[in-house]
């Protein structure tokens, strides 16, 4: 029986799709069977993040509406045997998605996979609320920046009220994934610190992903960072986050921690 995870944020451009692809691939690399589902109807991008954009024939709406069988719409990753994609429709409107259809689809995916990871669109409208609706747990992706933190707070409110779990009176587990963390800005105190964000949102931290060139490069070639550049700092951070999702205790590495402080001291002296 799968765990259904929603990757959400409220704000756009914070790294939901990148994180969905990276966490999905990291879990699949440990042998877990994973399906990543794109809920961004009309603006799909998860297919690009996985390099599968030329292989999409059927999508979530086709399955939810019962036009095709789930098997026909699932796209298996070319590099990882246990990673699958269910793409979003590019030509339809988000209103084409019915709640009952999504529920049937998620139920069917639950039986087939260890992990069902729903990539939420930005915003708080239908696509976003349906992506979180049937989730067991949520990963809230946040940048250490005021508008992202504000939108995350709003999304946390929705997770606690509009999900099936919340409506049943159960606790919706929520985890914070801090992305695009720039250690140089943090060092100069021009970026909200990790503690600031944790204090304000009061969620347990699942990982800190540094802002990096490697992620841009991985997105250019259409491979999750944990495959494209497995030894890079962000790939390690995503792998650790995936292990924490599986319940392991892994020490948290703060990007550019102590080493960076030394760099800054010497850097400044040299300037």
């Amino acid at each position: 029986m799968a765990e259904v995870l929603v990757i959400t944020s409220g704000k756009g451009g914070v790294g939901k799709t990148t994180s969905t692809a990276a966490l999905g691939a990291a879990l699949a690399q440990t042998g877990q069977s994973v399906v990543v589902v794109d809920f961004d109807i009309g603006l799909r991008n998860l297919d690009l993040a996985l390099g599968a954009e030329c292989r999409v024939v059927y999508d979530l709406i086709n399955v939810a509406n019962g036009d095709v069988r789930l098997q026909q719409a699932l796209i298996r990753d070319e590099r990882l045997d246990t990673l699958y994609l269910l793409a979003a429709s590019q030509s339809r409107d988000k209103d084409a998605l019915s709640e009952g259809g999504v529920q049937r689809c998620i139920d069917e995916l639950r039986d087939k996979f260890d992990w069902v990871i729903c990539d939420s669109p930005a915003g708080i409208e239908r696509g976003a609320t349906l992506a979180m609706r049937f989730a067991d747990r949520a990963v809230v992706v946040t940048n250490p920046e005021v508008s992202s933190v504000r939108d995350s707070d709003r999304i946390i409110g929705l997770l606690d009220s509009k999900t099936v779990k919340a409506e049943k009176g159960e606790r919706m587990d929520k985890l914070l994934l801090l992305t695009r963390y720039d250690s140089a800005q943090a060092g100069r105190r021009h970026m909200l610190s990790i503690d600031d964000v944790l204090d304000i949102l009061s969620l347990p931290l699942i990982g800190i992903i540094p802002e990096s060139q490697e992620i841009l490069r991985a997105s250019n070639v259409g491979a999750p960072i944990t495959i494209a550049d497995a030894q890079s700092t962000p790939a390690c951070a995503y792998r650790d986050a995936a292990r924490r999702l599986r319940g392991e205790t892994v020490p948290m590495i703060i990007p550019g921690g102590r080493k960076n402080l030394l760099n800054r001291l010497f850097g400044r002296r040299a300037a």
Binding site: E145, R150, R154, D160, K168, G169, M191, L192, A271
Partner: protein, 95 residues
């Protein structure tokens, strides 16, 4: 120039303060105050002191009426644990 920049005001504390003020208002407006989450954590802790319950067996629901809101808490306790707790209580009273 570089020297001046060293003394320029750090902007992150300003960001933090603005967010704290803003979110206090917004949480009050949307009714998401974290009250339920806080109550849940504390009540669970109190229950755990006396009986073993799985956190997912405790359900919290806040229902809004016209004048008042009702907080409904359902705690599912395994029969064995409930019995052990009552017998402990009895022996405690006898002593």
């Amino acid at each position: 120039m570089k020297l001046f920049r060293l003394f320029e005001r750090r902007s992150a504390p300003v960001a933090r303060e603005r967010l704290q003020i803003l979110l206090k208002h917004e949480r009050a407006a949307t009714g998401h105050s974290g009250l339920i989450a806080a109550l849940r954590e504390e009540i669970l802790r109190v229950i755990a002191r006396h009986v073993d319950v799985a956190p997912e067996k405790v359900k919290f629901k806040l229902e809004h009426g016209e004048e008042i809101a009702t907080l409904q808490i359902d705690v599912e306790i395994p029969e064995a644990a409930a019995r052990a707790a009552t017998s402990r209580e009895r022996s405690g009273r006898a002593a």
